[in-house]
Symmetry: C2
Subunit: 300 residues, 2 copies
């Protein structure tokens, strides 16, 4: 089957949304940057848009003929990359009951179950291994270490070390640094979310990630910045399948963020340290209480 054309389909869908109001499309290279794809893909998109009567395309002229209809879009599930599909499948298994530590992971079985080639599964597992949840036995199978209490504790230990350092670095940044503008914007968005928390609490995750990534970036250390990928991954999947108390949890977190932001703006290292510690402590608590007690590592 070689390669799916999900890049094209996803870009096509995004391009449809772009179309809406404008009465004419920009040049091919411009569209390419806008959609984050190559000109080759842009041209495939334009070709199809012409075919389906969405635009009239003649060299530089790309006139929009009609607004896109629901049936113009490619189905959502066809726009995911293989890596995303495999990741979702794998995480579902991992966080499901019965995924005990010590369990073996079988590439071939996974590949068959998901309906993809072994190569893609292998590559996924290699990429995934840096999250510390699986381990390779040379020339043999992978071993699941499990999403255990120990894992959560080790993860949060590093997170706290890294974030305290990043927050301190952040506060020490010069007045004219661009980060203060970003921080102001995030503050506004936090306030808006706080005022409508009852209905929009599920939008917090995304804001949370942007906020913490901004702080981590102040460390100017690639290992610290990259480590946030591990945290983001865990939070993303863990909370996606664990909605208990979500509203309450996020409401508290938003307030902690606002206090944290205020501390950063004060640029007082002591206040920053205190606000950061407080938020991290409650984040750890939340993560820990959501791990079922039964999920313990098996003796090796």
């Amino acid at each position: 089957m070689s390669k799916s054309n999900n890049v094209y389909k996803d870009a096509f869908n995004r391009c449809l949304r772009l179309l809406d109001e404008n009465k004419s499309l920009p040049s091919e290279p411009e569209l390419g940057t806008l959609l984050g794809v190559s000109r080759t893909t842009v041209r495939s998109i334009l070709a199809r848009m012409e075919e389906t009567g969405l635009i009239d395309w003649n060299k530089r002229n790309k006139t929009v003929l009609r607004a896109p209809r629901p049936e113009d879009f490619f189905p959502e599930e066809e726009t995911d990359s293989l890596a995303e599909i495999i990741e979702r499948s794998f995480m579902r298994r991992l966080l499901a009951e019965g995924a005990e530590a010590g369990m073996q992971i079988n590439e071939l079985e996974l590949a068959r179950e998901i309906g993809v080639g072994t190569t893609s599964v292998r590559e996924f597992l290699i990429r995934f291994s840096r999250f510390g949840l699986i381990e390779k036995r040379r020339n043999s199978h992978w071993v699941l270490k499990g999403f255990t209490r120990a894992f959560a504790l080790e993860l949060t230990e590093i997170r706290e070390m890294f974030e305290l350092r990043s927050a301190a670095a952040f506060a020490a940044l010069p007045e004219d640094s661009a980060v203060w503008v970003d921080l102001d914007m995030l503050e506004v968005q936090h306030r808006q979310l706080a005022s409508e928390i009852a209905t929009r609490f599920n939008e917090f995750s995304e804001l949370d990630e942007r906020f913490h990534r901004l702080i981590h970036r102040a460390s100017h250390n690639r290992f610290i910045v990259d480590f946030y990928d591990v945290i983001a991954m865990i939070f993303h999947y863990h909370y996606q399948w664990n909605k208990a108390e979500e509203r309450q949890r996020n409401e508290v977190a938003v307030q902690e963020h606002l206090a944290y932001i205020a501390a950063l703006k004060s640029r007082d290292p002591v206040k920053v340290d205190a606000a950061c510690r407080k938020h991290l402590k409650s984040a750890r608590q939340t993560l820990l209480t959501s791990i079922p007690e039964g999920r313990q590592a098996q003796p090796a």
Copy 2:
């Protein structure tokens, strides 16, 4: 060409050395654990040993007929795994002059140059990416970030954070912990090396790694333990191609280790912190001075 039988060849060579004095070989499963391979491979080894007249093999009886001769061994270069071959080739390029930051990495070209399939190169690059020296552009090439001064500084920053914490944890370990025995053994080996430093200075690398890994393990944190892989990799290759002042450097380091060990054994947190800091500082200095000034990151 599918898969090379380097596992068999390497195990065969190691088995030859085992053969030497003993007049009879253990059971197949026992040999398997000894050599770290499956019984299937053990049987291939035994089969060849019988063929070449090294042993007489009849079921449980594996009598050694003669001592192995040099020509019995498989050539060294045939015992390396593909991953090792690719890693070496890649690192040679990376540390060679002209490997500037920002440079593109081409999977196909690398594969052709090394003479292996693209899949193996891809998998290597994915595994290697966690070292923070390369980065993937989605659906496109890899970008070399380069072994720059910035990289060395970011690496050592994390190393120092992690090792200070691990050393503190180490010193706090109970008297009856097994680590104290390991530490005593390492101390003896350090003293031996110190007394013969003139001739054996090149054996330090290996001792260095074992010492630091022992300390890091005391953190009981997989992220800290795993991070030492990054450090070990950098040190391994960097010093392999940079022998300037090696003897002098190692002589100093051995003494610092001995002081560090003494501090750990005193179990006094203040002394431990001081000894650890001192050693890490000089390690960082050594690494930094060995990076050519010209090697700077290019603006993006």
